[in-house]
Amino acid sequence: MEKRVTFKGWLLPMLLLLPQVFITAAFFFYPAGQAIYQSLFIPDPFGLSMQYVGLGNFEYLAKDPYYRASFVTTAVFSGLVTVVSMGMALYLAVLADRLIKGSGTYRTLLIWPYAVAPAVAGVLWLFMFNTRVGVISWYLGLLGYDWNHVLNETEAMGLVVVASSWGRVSYNFLFFLAGLQAIPRSVIEAAAIDGARFWTRFRTIVFPLLSPTTFFLLVVNIVYAFFETFGVIHTITSGGPQQATTILVYKVYKDGFVGQDLGSSAAQSVVLLLVVGLLTVIQFKYIERRVHY
């Protein structure tokens, strides 16, 4: 049965909403508005003069093949991070769900990496794969594989994907595990009695019942890969080699804060805002239909 709390009058509910409205206005609407405004100008870095260019910044971006390439890079990167981190997490969650002894310890250990900040995670992975002193690159060398993510684009992409997914596995694991444990045992047992093996049970019962969790994680992870992986990219590759790991948000930073080209940077933020908005709409409109609540 649904429980409804109703307020008498308007004042209290408005008051309770106010903090959230204020935070959204101050930290989202105001900066987003600024970005849209600035994207119409080519300003000098010190804010001494602004030159109005209309949609010139956007035209410049549309014509820039490297900006278009950055879209592809971002799509590949976000797709890989989402698939790797969710796949790994689901696998681990299914295993942990079946554990009877010591499951608490496993869970705690699996959740740890989430506490590591992306930039720190980046440095950790960089140390392991450092072309000169890295432990893993040294072992790879023994096997006859010459690891060099400083020049090899595929290796660089692989490394940032793994480093970005690592901490994320923990987060996804938590949600998947909670989702798995919320599935009534009786349903699974009934299927087992009917003769369904593990894989069949997983495919026809567990996975569909897990879909709200999966959907939620899909949205959250894509947003993560778009924005929060900045620290990993910055510490490991700085967007290189060439532009192999320059995702959209890294380009916003590079053009704005290294290049002092605030007009282009603002225009890119606006594009990014639209892209993420669009992605979220698509997800809710089309993928959510397949979700069983």
Binding site: I42, F46, Q51, L151, G240, K254, F257, Q260, D261, G263
Partner: protein, 435 residues
């Protein structure tokens, strides 16, 4: 808070602050950490102890790019420091910011301070002065690229460690021998764009960009895809393919490989001296940067890297007086000579170089004057005065990307440099539009 602690606090601040109230505070933002940070702190302390009118407060604001950003953000918020350290590639950005900076020659003239721009060595002065010879920012730490040699590695490969490495032709022969002897890192580099394109161009007296490398106006275009540059990058690309040149990264990552004794030759700033001296457990040597024999006008002179100090607009006259005094203190021969000897940065004034020589430093540390000679033997030309390009930090990023394409064999040298020019020119046009 009780009355007692309040009174106690007041008494304490009175005791500590008697002189502070009379002193004008000067904010100085810089980008140095580690040993360099300590040395700057020492200079500031010496200045503060030497007089009682001003207190300089030095604050570390991150690396060069971050310090510049901090300065820009602070200016936009009206909280700018008196002095901001800006690396050489930010020079054009600062020069274009007419209302944000106060040129050093003006600061000195207003303060009535004794100041002679000609005291600075030509190549340093040229970088930071207008075409009329007015000094806009105060040179501080300047270095130039040189060739560092691991003598032990050469001996191990059966090469005379005193062999002539003055030309790239000779270096090429030595790399072959090193490779044949099984050396896994014959040559590595730091700051590839700065050394192998910007300095290469100046050293061979060819333009890096039109309009006197940007000194004559904002309507400049890159010219880094000329035959000299293409030939050099092409050769480096072949060396990279054969495992004779090992690329370690965009900044000075290669330094770790060299200091660990893995690499035989290393092109890096003269300011690599402090680190190499303290870490290298092998015999090393400093040589002039090699040049291509047969190119007319080579070797000309190399150009500088490093940073200068910019005075920000919007402070009181009193503060500017202090700034003038502090800047004069920093460029005094004693301070500069010590800085030069501690760090490997160039002595930016002729007097500081002279003092270092008198103190016998060059005799005790052979090779430490290589950089000075390399910069000062020839009078700078329009191609070797320096570079003044907008968005230059970002252009360097583009050059890094294109060079990586050459090192990995994805692009030919000509194609990569053509593309660097095209992409860089777009940024130069945007910079021109913004200013």
């Amino acid at each position: 808070m009780t009355i007692r602690t309040l009174l106690g606090g007041a008494a304490l601040s009175l005791a500590l602050g008697t002189s502070a109230y009379a002193q004008t505070e000067i904010q100085f933002w810089h980008a140095f950490t580690g040993r360099l940070g300590e040395l700057v702190a020492e200079q500031v302390e010496t200045f503060n102890g030497s007089q009682s009118d001003y207190t300089v407060v030095a604050t570390h604001k991150g690396n060069y790019s971050e310090t510049l950003n901090a300065g820009i953000a602070a200016f936009r918020a009206g909280e700018q420091p008196d002095i901001l350290m800006v690396f050489e590639v930010g020079t054009a950005t600062m020069m274009a910011a007419k209302g944000a900076i106060k040129p050093v020659y003006e600061v000195m003239a207003d303060a009535g301070a004794d100041f002679d721009a000609d005291a600075f060595i030509g190549a340093v002065k040229g970088y930071y002065t207008t075409t009329e010879g007015e000094m806009l920012s105060m040179p501080f730490n300047s270095s130039t690229p040189v060739l560092w040699v691991n003598r032990d590695a050469l001996s191990e490969a059966g090469i005379d460690p005193d062999t002539d490495l003055s030309t790239w032709q000779n270096v090429g022969d030595v790399l072959d021998q090193l490779k044949d002897a099984g050396n896994e890192c014959p040559l590595t580099t730091a700051w590839q764009s700065w050394i192998h394109l910007e300095n290469l161009s100046a050293y061979h007296n060819v333009p890096f960009a039109t309009q006197d490398n940007g000194f004559a106006g904002f309507d400049t275009e890159l010219a880094l895809n000329g035959p000299v540059q293409v030939k050099h990058i092409e050769t480096m690309g072949e060396w990279a393919k054969d495992g004779k040149f090992i690329y370690a990264g965009r900044r000075n990552e290669g330094g770790a490989n060299f200091r660990a004794g893995e690499c035989a030759l290393f092109t890096e700033s003269s300011a690599g001296y402090a680190g190499i001296k303290s870490e290298a457990s092998f015999e090393f040597d400093v040589r002039p940067l090699p040049y291509w024999e047969g190119v007319e006008g080579a070797p000309q002179n190399t150009i500088i890297g490093g940073a200068s100090l910019w005075v920000m607009e919007g402070q009181s006259d009193e503060e500017y007086k202090g700034v003038a005094e502090f800047l004069n203190f920093l460029s005094s021969p004693e301070i500069q000579a010590k800085w030069h000897q501690d760090t490997g940065y160039l002595p930016i004034t002729a007097a500081a170089g002279e003092l270092t020589r008198e103190q016998g430093f060059y005799e005790e540390n052979p090779g430490t004057d290589v950089a000075v000679k390399q910069m000062t033997t020839n009078e700078p030309t329009a191609n070797s005065k320096g570079l003044r390009l907008g968005s230059f930090d970002q252009i360097r990023g583009i050059i890094d990307e294109e060079l990586e394409a050459v090192w990995s064999g994805d692009k030919s040298a000509q194609a990569a440099l053509d593309s660097a020019k095209e992409r860089g020119d777009q940024l130069l046009r945007r910079f021109e539009a913004a200013n």
